[in-house]
Each structure stands twice: as structure tokens, then as C-alpha cells.
């Protein structure tokens, strides 16, 4: 590694004050600190030693936690393709082909997201003269996981650029943003290009092959929504019977949905993999267990309340189904726990998570326009998190004030 270090040391004066490429210092610095953790030492006064953690390590932990979702998403993309086009029906048949289809679709999306966002980050770092934000390590992976595999690459690039600029850099970078960056990217796509991220046609990659007769590409959320409107069979029946003839198997039974063998955005389908990610986040202390637990609890409670008030079949859906359909699990584990946009007080985290769960189910069940609720619930609660914190902080101040006047 000495060779690399020597190379960097040789180039460094170019980028330092007075050097020819001074304006690119932060771009250089990002590369340098990525390869070598810096040698600067603690100051004369204050803490003389520091904890071994840094922000890069914390962020990469989140990326690692997403890898189960990513790998599963890649394989499932291929699996859904083969199912829909009349290829094999067994889960593990044609493993190599399915993986290859998935890789071909997903990898470019990841590369585009990282490249587009990375360029924007670097431009801002150079213009605004601040270090490159490590937060993008996470955002660049989150965005691909919340879009369908069929999303055009230019839309991925546009959404990433939009989100990084509008949701983050205009506020001053990672740590200053109000909204979750990846959710903003998805919301941008959802409202700007609804044809490519909603409906029944986008969730399964067909390529140049034709789907099997009677195939419907609807998601589970769309199926239960229609069951609610239709009213001829219960929501669970509708799920279990959906596509059975065409695919020769029950796609939306509970186990399948929990495992994630269903159409949907790349990384969101598997509740199991999201829970593996949750275990990593909670185990490492990087994600707040309070938000995750209260998020799932909120969805269950609201699902249960819907049952009590049920006037249609969707409202009568057993609450645990809300956990395994759509992106709720992924959203609660990876989006809601973003420490910057979430509530920052410990009591606030309980309220914040609970309301995300509750709102998700309300939006799903009662809103005809948006079959999936987690995206809007997270963004909505991002906006409300400071209000929750305001009251928690105010309570702290009040306790102090009351003590003084007693």
C-alpha cells in the first residue's frame, strides 16, 4: 500500500492551497480518505482519544444491511420474468438464467444511480467547498431497490439527481436534509412518470417474450384493492386465487409474500430479507429498533382497527397481511430509520415509527389513487418529525423551568 500512499502524497500539493487544482481539493480528499483514513490527531485541549467509529463505517453498515434485499431482488427479478413468460415454475430451477436476467436489469440501475448521484455530490463539494457526503453511499443503493426493474435508466438518473439536489444539497448536505433522499427520488418518479412506476405492467420484466395466457402483472396491493371494490370474495381469497391458472401456482399466498417471490420494486418484495436487514441494523445499533418495532406495530394496530370498522373486503384483510405486502417492511427498516430525517429524540422515535405504520395502512386502504402507502407515509412523517421533536424538547425545557420555580 506504500505505493498508493506515495502516489497520493506526490499528487497532494497539486490540490492543496496554492496548487493548480486547488478547486478540486474536496474531490481529491474524498478519494484519499476513502483509501486511507487520515493521520490528523486530536487537538491540544479536549478529548485526546477518539472512538474507532466514523461516518463512513456507519454508512457502509447500512449498505451491508441492504445486501440481502439486493441479492434476493436480483434473483426474484429473473424468477418473475420466467414465471410470467411461461418458463420454469420451480423456485430454484434455471438458477443461473434467472440470476443473469436479474443482474442484467439491476446492475445498470445501481451503476447509474451511484454515477449520477456521485457526480452531483462531487460538483456540489467542489462548488460549495465541503467534503463529499458519505450519506450518498446509502442513497445510491436505496434508490435502485425502490424502483421496478423495468424503470428506464434515464429516469433513474434524473430521479437521483433531483433527489440529491432538491432533497439534500440545497439544505447543506447529509445531516441537514429534511426528507429522506431515496424516498424523494421515488416520489419524484411516481409523480413525474407514473406510467413507469405504477399500474400492472411495470413490475415484471417481460423483455421480448410474451406473457402466458391470462397473466396479470398486478401487485398484491392492487389485487386486494380490487377485491375491496369488487366485494365478491374476501381479500385473502382474492390473493390466494390470483393468477393461479396462468402461472399454475398461487402467487400471493402469505408465505410467498413473506418470502418475497412476488412482483414489485427490486428490493422491496421480501419481508424476510428486510427483517434480516433489520437484524443487522439493530444488532449494530445503526438503525433505531424503536422506529422499526413501532412501525410494524403501528401497521398492525391500524390494520386491526380497519377490521373493526370494515365496510369492504380490503378493510377486513387480516392485519398481518399488511406486513408482507408492498414495501412496508423495506420502508420501515431502511427508510424510516434514516437518522437525519427521522425523529431525533428517543421518545419521538416511538411516535414517529408508530405514525408511519398507521399512515401507511390508512393510505393503502382508503386512498384510491395510491395503492402503496409507505412512501407517502415516510415522507409525510419526515416533515412532521421536527414537530414531534419540538414537543419532546419543549417538555425537557419545561421540566427544567418548573424545577427552578418550585
Amino acid at each position: 500500500m506504500k505505493f498508493l500512499r506515495d502516489l497520493l502524497d506526490k499528487q497532494k500539493p497539486l490540490f492543496e492551497k496554492g496548487g493548480k487544482l486547488e478547486s478540486l481539493y474536496y474531490a481529491f480528499e474524498a478519494g484519499e480518505t476513502f483509501m486511507f483514513s487520515p493521520k490528523h490527531t486530536t487537538g491540544i485541549k479536549g478529548a485526546q482519544v477518539k472512538d474507532a467509529i466514523d461516518l463512513k463505517r456507519m454508512m457502509i453498515t447500512v449498505v451491508i444491511a441492504m445486501i440481502p434485499c439486493l441479492l434476493f431482488g436480483i434473483y426474484n427479478t429473473g424468477h418473475q420474468h420466467f414465471l410470467a413468460t411461461g418458463g420454469t415454475t420451480g423456485l430454484w430451477e434455471d438458477f443461473g438464467d434467472k440470476t443473469w436476467v436479474g443482474v442484467k436489469l439491476v446492475l445498470p440501475i445501481i451503476i447509474v444511480a451511484y454515477a449520477a448521484g456521485g457526480i452531483v455530490e462531487a460538483i456540489f463539494a467542489v462548488i460549495r467547498k465541503h467534503p463529499i457526503n458519505e450519506g450518498f453511499l446509502v442513497t445510491g443503493m436505496l434508490i435502485p431497490l425502490v424502483v421496478p426493474a423495468t424503470t428506464p435508466l434515464w429516469q433513474v438518473a434524473l430521479a437521483t439527481v433531483f433527489a440529491v439536489v432538491i432533497a439534500k444539497e440545497v439544505f447543506g448536505g447529509t445531516g441537514m436534509n429534511i426528507l429522506n433522499v431515496a424516498m424523494t427520488a421515488r416520489a419524484f418518479l411516481y409523480f413525474a412518470y407514473p406510467a413507469q412506476i405504477s399500474g400492472d405492467q411495470v413490475w415484471t420484466y417481460l423483455g421480448d417474450r410474451t406473457p402466458v395466457d391470462g397473466f396479470s402483472g398486478a401487485t398484491a396491493l392492487a389485487v386486494v384493492y380490487n377485491a375491496g371494490v369488487d366485494g365478491t370474495q374476501s381479500a385473502v381469497e382474492a390473493l390466494n386465487l390470483h393468477n393461479v391458472e396462468a402461472l399454475n401456482q398461487s402467487l400471493f399466498n402469505f408465505t410467498n409474500m413473506f418470502m418475497g417471490w412476488i412482483p414489485g420494486s427490486i428490493g422491496e418484495t421480501s419481508t424476510l430479507m428486510a427483517l434480516v436487514g433489520a437484524l443487522i441494523l439493530i444488532g449494530t445499533g445503526v438503525g433505531s429498533w424503536k422506529i422499526i418495532v413501532s412501525g410494524f406495530a403501528g401497521a398492525y394496530i391500524m390494520g386491526f382497527v380497519m377490521n373493526l370498522l370494515a365496510v369492504n373486503e380490503y378493510m377486513a384483510l387480516p392485519p398481518q397481511y399488511h406486513w408482507v405486502m408492498g414495501g412496508l417492511a423495506f420502508g420501515i427498516v431502511f427508510m424510516a430509520t434514516d437518522p437525519v430525517s427521522a425523529s431525533q429524540t428517543e421518545t419521538g422515535k416511538w411516535i414517529y415509527g408508530l405514525l408511519i405504520g398507521i399512515l401507511t395502512v390508512i393510505i393503502r386502504v382508503t386512498n384510491p389513487a395510491y395503492p402503496e402507502g409507505i412512501m407517502l407515509a415516510v415522507l409525510f412523517m419526515n416533515v412532521f418529525a421536527p414537530l414531534i421533536d419540538y414537543y419532546i424538547v419543549k417538555a425537557n425545557k419545561t421540566r427544567r423551568l418548573q424545577r427552578a420555580t418550585v
Binding site: 486530536t42 479536549g46 437518522p339
Partner: protein, 463 residues
């Protein structure tokens, strides 16, 4: 006590027992062995105005070449001129060192072989009124041992504090054992407590480590309320203890004194001299011999360190590694420090240092941080900055190492924004730097937390 402090306290008679859960013990290699080492005695001693936070306009009263006794006035603060800062030893003033714009840095004294003392005469506490006692202490050089809360500055003798707090144990990394350092000083401690009791309108609180048996040196002291605190660091911080006993509110004043300061005050009462001697711990992983040594305030540390090093590239810290100050090999012990710590200097690059699995000490458990698997291990910590400063990202961690009903991140953000009302309402009166020092250690975003705390204090103090 706040809902968030997770502390339990119960009252038994007068004294309180407080069990704290939040915090973090930094367990390091290089604990001082419980013995007095035979290091060569220090030759020079310095009094550094920079040790006394809030000392605004120092004025030197001696010239280079003057001979002084222990207790001879060396400098005063023109803003609080009844308080004398006195020579810790007798000898010759060898240097009055100034920095940029003639800022006074230190006055150093070459010590006599046998120390002679200014004679102030014994003090009969009962016969003096409060103000006369305060004036006598202030004129002797002993007074700067008394610190005022809020702000953590040298107390003003004209104030009457609501209570006086003594933390009789230290939970900082490699901190000295107060009971060992004060062995045999019971008489002086008792006299010191009696003097302090006269200065306050309230109580003198003596806070001891609740996780151990009461050390003999403290067990028979009278005139103070004995409280027991247990839990990880910062349970031994007097600021944390005040928060749980009798929290600081706006407009109130309390005082704090270290146990060695109490003993020095007691000796002044009983014998009429300013004896600045104390037993300090010489600690750290880079020393061949880590032990205690008896010396005086402001000692030059070179005789304890040189020839006692097991490596070449070291940092000498006056005090502990959380709140101390980097000094040179020829540097002087800080007035308030009872410890020096020698650690490796950390100015090295590390290839992929942010991603490699590491057994280095961390409060966190993020990817590759393995130290949580070995909670009882003693660690060698160096001075590497471990990454660069970033905006606040991680939440909830500062709260988990601060056993007080305070929201550190909100307070620090208010200080950054210079929002005076917020700074006040979020509890600046209750803390000094050391109370949030652990936050600086565990911070993922590497903020200079203690510097910010002082900035916040000064914003309020001088507004």
C-alpha cells in the same frame, strides 16, 4: 430527576444513593500501581493562567529572578483581584513566559531543595465570620481550588453558594484512586469540610463511589452529607452528581472542590500554610512504570516521564485522555490535574481504515467494530482523530452516555446557532466541558464537543 436519566435514587436519612446506568467506562492499559514511585523530584513548577478558565486579565506580581516562598502571590486576575494565585513551591522565578500579543502563558519557579512557606497563621473557623474566612482563603493561594457552577470558573469569594459539592472519586480513564492519593489526610479533609461548611448557606455534599465500600479516609468525616453514586463514567463527575442532588437553575450558584483541594484547604486551616503538594497518578500505556508520585501543583513532568518511556513517539497529557491537555515532555502539570497520561501519538495513515475490522475501542457496534466483544479488555488508545468532522447524523448516542436529563445534540446545535434563549433553556447552567466529554469521544461526526460547550458557556456568561 428526569424521566430520561434512567436513574434511581432513594433517600436514607440525609444522604442519597444514586445508581446511574448511562455512560461508558474507557478501560485503558497503563493503570497506576498503588505505590509511591521513587521518580526524581521535579525541579521546576509553573503557574499557568490558562489553567484557570475565566481568568480574564492576569497580572504578574513577580519578576524573573525574584525569590518566592510557597504561598507568595504570583499573579492576580484584575477582574477578581481579591483572589491570589500563589507560588506552589519556594524558590526562584526563572521565567515569565509570554506568547502572542504578550499573552501571559506561564510563570515558572525553580524549586528550593526544602520548601519554605509563607506563614498565614492558623485559622480558628469558629471565631471568624464567613466573609473573613473567605477573605483569608482568597489571600492565601488556596482559593482557586474552589470552582463555581455554573460556568466552571474560579469562585468569587463574595458569593454565598447554595451548596458545595465534592466528588470523592474519579471515573475518568486511568484516573487516580482518591482514597489512595489522600491516605493519611483525614485530619485535613475534616478541617477543609468544616471551612467549606462555613462558606455555604446550604450543605456540603461529599459524593463517594457507591459500588465500593466507603474508603477509610472518608468514612469518619463529619459535617458533610455523604451521597453514594454508582455506574459507569461519568458517575464520578461532580456536574452529574449535582444534577441528581440539587440541580443548577438559572441565577443559582454552587461551588465544587476536588478532594485534594479540600485537603489543601484543611492544611491551611490547621497549619497556616499553602501546601500545594498532592499525590498524582502517572499513567498510560507508553510508560514502563505507571505509579503514583508525590509532588506539587504545576510540576514539570519530565522527571516522571523521561527514562520511563517504552516507545519514542508519544503524547503526554496533563490530566486524563477525555478532558486533559496535550503538553510537551518538559511541560507542566495543570493546576486542576491529578494525573498525567502518556499515550502513543496517532499521526499515521491507515489503508482502508474506515472499513477494516478492528479491535480498537469503540462504544459502537457498527460493521467491523469488535471491541464490544471484549468488554473487560484494557485498550491502548492513541491520539489519531479517527475520521473527519461531519454534520450530526447519528442520533440517540449522546443521550446514552449522558446520565442527565439533558439533550446534548439540541444543546450543541443551539450553541452552533448562537441561540441564547435555547442555550439557556436546554441546560447550559448544568454542565461544563467534562460533563459532555464522553459525547466528544463517541461522536461519529467528530465534533469538538467540549470546545462548543465552553463557547456556549461564554455566550451566556458574557451576555
Amino acid at each position: 430527576m428526569g424521566r430520561f436519566s434512567k436513574a434511581h435514587s432513594s433517600k436514607t436519612d440525609m444522604s442519597k444513593i444514586v445508581k446511574l446506568k448511562k455512560g461508558f467506562d474507557i478501560n485503558m492499559v497503563g493503570k497506576a500501581k498503588q505505590e509511591l514511585a521513587d521518580f526524581a523530584r521535579a525541579q521546576t513548577f509553573a503557574i499557568k493562567p490558562t489553567d484557570f478558565i475565566g481568568l480574564q486579565r492576569p497580572k504578574v506580581l513577580v519578576n524573573e529572578g525574584d525569590t518566592v516562598k510557597a504561598g507568595t502571590p504570583i499573579l492576580i486576575d484584575k477582574a477578581l483581584d481579591q483572589v491570589i494565585y500563589a507560588a506552589p513551591v519556594s524558590g526562584k522565578v526563572v521565567e515569565v513566559k509570554r506568547g502572542d500579543r504578550r499573552k501571559l502563558l506561564e510563570v515558572s519557579i525553580l524549586a528550593d531543595a526544602t520548601i519554605t512557606y509563607e506563614q498565614f497563621g492558623q485559622v480558628d473557623i469558629a471565631s471568624l465570620d464567613r466573609d473573613a474566612l473567605a477573605a483569608k482563603l482568597a489571600a492565601s493561594g488556596i482559593w482557586p481550588n474552589i470552582i463555581q457552577r455554573p460556568f466552571g470558573v474560579v469562585a468569587n469569594p463574595a458569593d454565598t453558594p447554595k451548596s458545595i459539592f465534592i466528588s470523592a472519586f474519579d471515573t475518568h480513564p486511568l484516573a487516580p484512586d482518591c482514597a489512595f492519593a489522600l491516605k493519611g489526610q483525614e485530619r485535613y479533609l475534616q478541617a477543609g469540610i468544616e471551612a467549606l461548611a462555613k462558606l455555604t448557606s446550604g450543605k456540603v455534599h461529599l459524593n463517594i463511589d457507591g459500588s465500593k465500600a466507603v474508603p477509610a479516609v472518608f468514612s469518619n468525616l463529619k459535617g458533610a452529607q455523604m451521597n453514594k453514586f454508582s455506574g459507569p463514567h461519568p458517575a464520578g463527575n461532580v456536574g452529574v452528581q449535582i444534577h441528581h442532588l440539587d440541580p443548577m437553575n438559572k441565577g443559582e450558584i454552587a461551588w465544587t472542590v476536588s478532594p485534594s483541594g479540600v485537603a489543601q484547604i484543611g492544611k491551611f486551616i490547621l497549619e497556616g500554610i499553602y501546601d500545594a503538594s498532592k499525590v498524582i497518578a502517572v499513567t498510560g500505556s507508553e510508560l514502563t512504570k505507571a505509579a503514583y508520585v508525590k509532588t506539587y501543583s504545576g510540576a514539570c513532568v519530565s522527571t516522571f516521564v523521561k527514562g520511563n518511556l517504552n516507545s519514542g513517539h508519544v503524547r503526554v497529557v496533563s490530566g486524563n485522555v477525555l478532558t486533559g491537555e496535550k503538553i510537551s515532555l518538559e511541560g507542566f502539570l495543570g493546576f486542576y490535574h491529578n494525573q498525567i497520561t502518556v499515550i502513543p501519538e496517532g499521526d499515521y495513515y491507515e489503508f482502508m481504515g474506515w472499513a477494516k475490522p478492528t479491535t480498537r475501542l469503540s462504544y459502537h457496534r457498527a460493521l467491523g467494530l469488535l471491541s464490544f466483544l471484549t468488554p473487560n479488555k484494557e485498550f491502548v488508545l492513541d491520539s489519531n482523530g479517527r475520521g473527519e468532522e461531519r454534520a450530526f447524523v447519528q442520533t440517540g448516542v449522546f443521550e446514552s452516555v449522558t446520565p442527565m436529563d439533558i439533550l446534548p445534540v439540541y444543546l450543541l446545535k443551539a450553541i452552533m446557532a448562537e441561540d441564547y434563549d435555547e442555550i439557556e433553556e436546554l441546560g447550559i447552567y448544568e454542565i461544563v466541558e467534562e460533563d459532555l466529554a464522553l459525547c466528544e469521544f463517541v461522536d461519529v461526526s467528530k465534533h469538538p464537543v467540549q470546545e462548543l460547550v465552553r463557547k456556549g458557556i461564554e455566550l451566556i456568561q458574557y451576555s
